[in-house]
Symmetry: C2
Subunit: 107 residues, 2 copies
Amino acid sequence: MQLFADYRDFVGTNLERFFKTTIVQTPRMLVGTDCLEPGQQQPTHQHAGRDKLYLVMEGQGRFTIGVETRDCGPGELIFAPADQPHGVLNIGNERLVMVIVMAPEPG
Amino acid sequence: MQLFADYRDFVGTNLERFFKTTIVQTPRMLVGTDCLEPGQQQPTHQHAGRDKLYLVMEGQGRFTIGVETRDCGPGELIFAPADQPHGVLNIGNERLVMVIVMAPEPG
């Protein structure tokens, strides 16, 4: 298990879907990154019984949580409570990089 | 519950101990900030059954997890698994600001 990590070591590109990594995983929490190239989208989805937090590190995203939509950039937190549909579209000209946390982990 | 938030709205000073806020809290996850002025310390402590993640947003901290100590700055993640002693000292000249996540929340 990684006790110390730099999010910049977990950034990348996946042109087919979007890029995601896991940094730390326990039964209680999963920590990782989601990276979207300009125009890429994470389609609306939901996690049964699990909260998800996004923290934007780089870029600009249009986030939807339930019926709310908001454009967010670095330093902004987006919280999807358990069972709430959520998704994000990269609306900027650079890679959108987010640290994400899910609790409990999707075991 | 806050679905969207900017961590900069949850930054402050507490000269007696250190500054902490809660941004979001559910039975599964607590999201907040910890802010330490230069020289301030969060003494080593542990959370029974709960993981804690720090993500440094501003400043420089010396983090201890169990027997490991590491100096970390913006963009670095520090993970304290459940029941592991952890603490942090602000070793820089500016405020140390961290977004923190605990799972499950300390109900």
